[in-house]
Assembly symmetry: none
Homo-oligomer: 231 residues x 2
């Protein structure tokens, strides 16, 4: 799950610096040079957060937020204002118009990062797309506590086996090739031998063995693997 941030800032140097820092922090970044451009970007793609310079040519910060909040699809996107020092007047205006937080220029990347994290957290209190536990017969995977249990009996899994089981339990009764599993469970950026999947399947089976659920992990010869309650 990548988090996308829209940066609206007219100063090229600052904009580039921002995008660079944000990417380093693992965010995906869209950049706009003025309010008009920024609003255009929003028509195409909805970011998870907006970094908004307050002093903009054309549409200024206040106006930008107004228009943003006026659109029901965009109204909930949190906004962090970037203000120069001494603009505390505007600051209050901004917060009252609907900005969620602000950062004074100049700021350090860590500080900005902290603010971004805080705002995202505040705005996504539900987190983790709802479902807290996934069940399959008596097998229970709890995403919050990061635990797998059968009848309350705990099953120990390494990080990779946990992700693998998690994926399987979210997508039961369906066969996946080793390549697909690598993409979905490991991520598509790494290059790993396909046979490695076999090894982790083995480890998962072994961990599930005492509970008898190891046969839920099924081999589909010539294709890959499948997780299913039915034999």
């Amino acid at each position: 799950m990548t988090t996308t941030i829209l940066v609206v800032e007219d100063d090229v140097a600052i904009r580039d610096m921002l995008c660079f820092s944000l990417k380093q922090m693992g965010y995906t970044c869209i950049a706009a040079g003025d309010g008009e451009q920024g609003l255009d970007c929003l028509k195409i793609q909805q970011p998870d957060l907006i970094l908004l310079d307050w002093m903009l040519p054309g549409i200024d910060g206040i106006e930008f937020i107004r228009r943003l909040r006026a659109n029901e699809f965009l109204a909930n996107i949190p906004v962090i204002m970037l203000t120069a020092k001494g603009e505390s007047e505007d600051l209050v205006k901004g917060l009252s118009v609907g900005a969620d937080d602000y950062v004074n220029k100049p700021f350090s990347p860590p500080e900005l990062g902290a603010r971004i994290k805080a705002v995202l957290r505040r705005c996504n209190p539900t987190e983790s797309d709802g479902k807290q536990t996934i069940e399959c017969d008596k097998l229970v995977l709890d995403t919050k506590s990061h635990r797998v249990t059968v009848d309350g009996e705990r099953i120990d899994l390494g990080p990779t086996e946990f992700r693998l089981l998690h994926f399987f339990m979210k997508n039961t009764d369906r066969a996946y090739s080793r390549g697909q599993l690598l993409d979905y469970v490991w991520g598509d950026t790494v290059y790993i031998e396909e046979r490695t999947v076999d090894v982790h399947i083995r480890r998962l089976r072994k961990a599930l063995e005492p509970s008898g659920y190891d046969n839920f992990v099924q081999t589909v010869r010539g294709v890959g693997y499948r997780f299913s309650a039915e034999m």
Copy 2:
């Protein structure tokens, strides 16, 4: 049940006067000379209400409240602003930022007392006793007295370990990343190495060791830590 009030006011005379009046009214009083000091106080002890002068050297009222609201433990503490006459501008700002009420200087102690009572009533509708202690098996954490005991046996914790345990006991059976713990326990405005969390986890475990509750603090490899009665 004593009610504690934090006074943040830079003018010594007014501050002392306030503390004196408050004590007369039966409140316990903590005093801070500026915003920085005030925030430090909050790390150690959570008051039931904050009296906040609006004109402060360093961190001003807006910033103070902003930081306050950013911390989940402190977010609900009501704030009464102390404003000089003619600062009606700031008044609006303050209320929009999240102050709960205001009192114009100069004010009379009875007036202030009335406001305090009103705000406390408004903000603690459930109250009367509220949860003062959190328990986990025989482990008892008293939020007011800032004490942790097992079977009446006292356990000594440093401030950070106390907050960490406090957070854990409020959120058991759930894995948190080091980053999340930093956000929730340390606050999202500081930038601290993630490894530092490990060290404090270690200190917490060590402190709990003699009681045998150290294994409640569990490592979730690849993720972070979890506090749970179940192994």
